[in-house]
Symmetry: C2
Subunit: 196 residues, 2 copies
């Protein structure tokens, strides 16, 4: 196998990469600058040596504790529960959330063998028992798995009556058009309609 074929084979294992796009990418990398290739190759090869999950919230970090858990200015009464570490980045970039995070590491999906025990629920309970949280925002995906997980969290925390549980709003995406929205999204945006 030549080095281009080998590179194509490896690229093809990435999500969303078919034979054609992998080949195209491999050939593209012949024409790029050597320095860029070395930087990209090195960043991929060493990524997992440099980062690890934050022992408190579970999001990926290079330091001992992540920047969110470590921040003195974030609101420690607010907790946002997400499925994946990258969701922390998305919510953080929205610019309107200044509380803490908790990464579950996925959503409950019995068909794929992911039960509550595979996710970071034990850590969640212990954080809530030992913390000062007033509101918990459930920000799992608006999918069947995400909804199941949200329901599970509600059950898990039902004895904490002082805690306000909320869920991210679902509905039409901003800039979207009614004609392009699917039935479920439309139904959700109707059920969750707000007073003007």
């Amino acid at each position: 196998m030549t080095s281009i074929e080998e590179l194509t084979r490896l690229i093809k294992k990435l999500p969303g990469m078919g034979e054609k796009s992998a080949t195209r990418l491999a050939y593209h990398l012949i024409k790029t600058d050597s320095g860029y290739n070395k930087a990209l190759g090195d960043a991929i090869a060493t990524l997992k040596d440099k980062i690890h999950p934050c022992p408190i919230c579970g999001c990926y970090t290079e330091g001992e504790i992540c920047e969110y858990c470590n921040s003195p200015t974030r609101d420690k009464t607010l907790l946002c529960i997400v499925e994946e570490s990258q969701d922390v980045v998305s919510i953080s970039q929205s610019g309107i959330y200044n509380g803490l995070f908790h990464v579950l590491g996925g959503a409950i999906n019995p068909l794929n063998g992911i039960g509550p025990d595979s996710l970071r629920f034990r850590e969640l309970r212990s954080r809530i028992e030992n913390g000062d949280f007033k509101e918990v925002i459930i920000a799992t995906n608006p999918t069947e798995e995400g909804d199941t997980t949200a329901l599970y969290i509600r059950q898990l925390l039902r004895d904490r009556e002082e805690l306000q549980l909320t869920r991210l709003a679902s509905g039409l995406p901003i800039g979207g058009e009614l004609g392009y929205a699917d039935k479920l999204t439309l139904a959700r945006s109707l059920r969750g309609r707000i007073k003007l």
Copy 2:
């Protein structure tokens, strides 16, 4: 910048990668096997050290001469001219071509500053003068640039009257439907219609 942000920044420079897909890929690479990441990273970082253009046809190779030019079984009276090295792979994989190749390194595109001098036309002429070619298949892309380049090759070789010049057929893709074909493709497939 954290190592994930740095990796995302580098991935974003690849063709077809936006902010979201680059972030998704970077986070995917946290979950993959370390051995895979090392292999992929290494393959990218060292790719350009291992390969170089074949001095005869211009396609990328690891050996001194490429496998096509070096092959004793390929038909040395047939020459297929393509724009890029990866086109050699595509045509080769079609399984019905057993001649030699010539890679131009692109197509004539005056707007992007790519004139005939930036492409491997000098090498093409000298190969044809010193070779035993009977047919030259022009396999540039069916785009404006590819058509211009095909026309240029016709001019370049007009004094070689013994040489048969052909061009890849354009028309409906196999498995495609008339309703989805664009006007230009339909026009070409009509103009190039064949007798049954």
